[in-house]
Symmetry: C2
Subunit: 434 residues, 2 copies
């Protein structure tokens, strides 16, 4: 069943995913003679780099999300459907979704990545991921619910489990999340829970490799670790998780930590729909693409951003799964579409590494800009400025700025609310509205 197909004869480009790559691609094709159909299971774009601030009560979810329809307001060659893609059929040139099938002339997979548990069902069930806004809100609810429970818990071991927080994975997400938890503990929980001995709250950061922030400079790796230790986070590197049953997490160095709170940021894998040939899926569950972002063997299917693995000499495992890579690939693919429409040959993609940065806490961040590396207060302001400017929408920028300024002076967080209760067993909340 084909629904609402526009009748004009311009080539139809179906973009799956309204993340950083997908929106750039669609924007840059604004004035072209193409029909664009964007499919996303959410009706909004998520600014993933700030999810950790939603999870720790620093920002409202709505201020880091932006309605996709609004981004493309007035773009006449653009259609949006709030749909979940279940599979693709390259032979019939059809995408199947929960609301019906859509045909395409060109298909672009910009589906991003999801948490990677490396095959462990146990870890997938018991740990908390943080890749989407509902996941970040679940995490916020769980943290606050466990604190409330700790107050009335009489069994000291159970109480310990409620107050131990373990972040697994020392990439930017894990570093930012554990730093933010430490600030929540020291500035907010101390005042909110006077009955609780705040020193009973322990935050652990577990990283399998010997260093934090793997792809950054040794200087930034060292400083981020020092910052976290100063802030009271127990940083454990060179150690992996061997099991977690919802009660006790076991590590490869034979340490056991009793905890109800395990936050999973140890890896991602490409979000590949059914129908993509298995032999095209490479390391990290990403789809192997050529230098034009084409899936090998297909002239009409492309992949960009986190889900794509363009292997080059400099990046033998594909480009880093970061927003700038997705943005650049989206823009570049748009250019190539325009070239092809004008019967010009497409150009190979070249990644421009703008540098990387991570924030650990108030006045503490690390920045690598090529050979220039710095950390501390100035790095923190640079981090804030870059993230603020990257947010989609003036209202979002304004609300986030207001929240940050207010938090800076008050040392407080605005949104520590359990709006939907989290229940691990059912992975659902009580939404009766009570």
């Amino acid at each position: 069943m084909e629904k609402n197909s526009p009748s004009v004869n311009f080539p139809k480009i179906v973009i799956v995913g309204g993340g950083f790559g997908g929106i750039q691609l669609a924007k840059k094709l604004r004035d072209q003679e193409v029909q664009i159909l964007m499919l996303d299971r959410h009706n909004y774009h998520t600014f993933q780099p700030l999810l950790y601030q939603v999870a720790t009560g620093g920002l409202e979810a709505d201020s880091i999300a932006f309605p996709l329809r609004k981004i493309f307001k007035g773009q006449k060659n653009f259609l949006f459907r709030n749909a979940e893609v279940t599979s693709i059929n390259p032979e019939r040139k059809i995408v199947t979704t929960n609301i019906g099938d859509y045909s395409y002339d060109y298909l672009v997979l910009a589906t991003g990545s999801d948490s990677n548990y490396f095959g462990s069902r146990e870890l997938e069930h018991f740990t908390m991921p943080m890749k989407t806004i509902p996941e970040a809100l679940n995490l916020r609810s769980m943290i606050l619910q466990n604190l409330e429970e700790a107050l009335i818990e009489t069994d000291p071991d159970v109480k310990k489990g409620l107050l131990n927080f373990v972040v697994v994975g020392g990439g930017p997400t894990g570093v930012e999340l554990s730093g933010s938890l430490s600030e929540l503990k020291r500035h907010v929980l101390k005042k909110d829970y006077p009955e609780l001995d705040i020193s009973e709250i322990n935050i652990y950061l577990i990283e399998g490799s010997p260093v934090l922030l793997g792809p950054m400079s040794p200087q930034s790796q060292r400083h981020s670790k020092e910052f976290l230790i100063e802030m009271g986070v127990n940083v454990i590197t060179g150690v992996t998780v061997t099991s977690y049953d919802g009660q006790v997490i076991k590590l490869s160095n034979n340490t056991e930590i009793i905890t109800k709170n395990v936050l999973w940021s140890a890896g991602v894998k490409g979000e590949v729909p059914e129908g993509v040939p298995k032999d095209k899926i490479v390391r990290g569950g990403r789809i192997k693409v050529d230098q034009f972002n084409r899936i090998e063997g297909y002239k009409d299917i492309f992949a960009i951003g986190d889900v794509a693995s363009m292997q080059t000499e400099e990046y033998p495992n594909g480009h880093p799964g970061v927003a700038p890579a997705a943005v650049q690939q989206g823009k570049h693919l748009a250019k190539n579409f325009i070239k092809v429409l004008n019967n010009e040959p497409p150009e190979p993609f070249k990644y421009f590494d703008k540098g990387s940065m991570a924030t650990i806490g108030r006045n503490r961040a690390v920045v690598d800009l090529g050979k220039i590396r710095f950390q501390g207060v100035f790095a923190w302001f640079v981090w804030m400025f870059v993230h603020l400017m990257s947010l989609v929408g003036f209202r979002n920028k304004l609300v986030v700025l207001v929240n940050w300024i207010w938090s800076y002076f008050s040392l407080d967080r605005g949104t520590r609310l359990i709006i939907r209760r989290f229940n691990r067993e059912s992975m659902r909340e009580d939404t009766s509205g009570k």
Copy 2:
């Protein structure tokens, strides 16, 4: 089981509910020799007068809620428990909750009100209430989901049902909600859904009595109706709902409207816990109290705010269920507790009617201040100022102000996001985080 009872011998006041009344009572007892325990099923205070703006995408939920623990930060005689009260036992002087029993010396019920379906299970199941933040968010999701569905619907009758919005109840909530829906339609949806013929979206406001805003002046009643009609809302007064099966709503004038969207604001009833003697429950499901807010026949149980019905000559059915009445009763009861602690006789409560107001839309509000009545732009600014000042917390005031200023100039709404999908059948959403 009695948990965490402080051991000091000051009298223990248990307050059930952190609404307008409960927080004033606890605040005013700050420096007194009492132990206060507040129980609430949410960990936040909800500013209910602005729920309709959350439901229609104008404000983020977090900006009209405030963490209860934070309100009482540093108040040494105050304890909070995030607990749902299931029943009270006046004989044993115990409150039973989902996390255990708590004893009291004095019990104050400040539980507020819930939607009243006047016994109809059908209406309770199929219509959407808006008394809590999760309910307002469900409403927002449902409205947006139904618009997305309308786009791909080919059956014209089903499509009509998705695009007809019926608000039942012409009190302030119904008037504000239908006005806000009309603005959403004209300013936002027109741009967001260019494929949709916006004139197919119809908004109805159904009120059983002959006038809108029953308790306000005839002048305000007339103006609010005129404003709504100008804004394209179909206002139907003097007509009640006879049935609604999820597809077609039937009215007492034999009109039938096909609709998937029925928003229920036709009445409230007191939220009375089990254990309150049935003969103390009067009109509107409220608890009859004497002029000291004491439940008749008890020296140690009180009720304040929406759940209390203090029948006086001027208010034979109790005071109006509005925030100022709850605030005044909370403050007054605190004063009386202090008097009793000092062996002075308590004073009877006297309600000071500050007037009432309702906003219909941009530049359109009605205000009654005693004999002074006005409407239009100035009334709208007064409405905004009063509501902004009544919000708890500086951050919330700031974020709401930023949103309002931004909306005023952009004619836009910031938060039209389906963050949790709404599913009527299960009254739950997909919270897998996808």
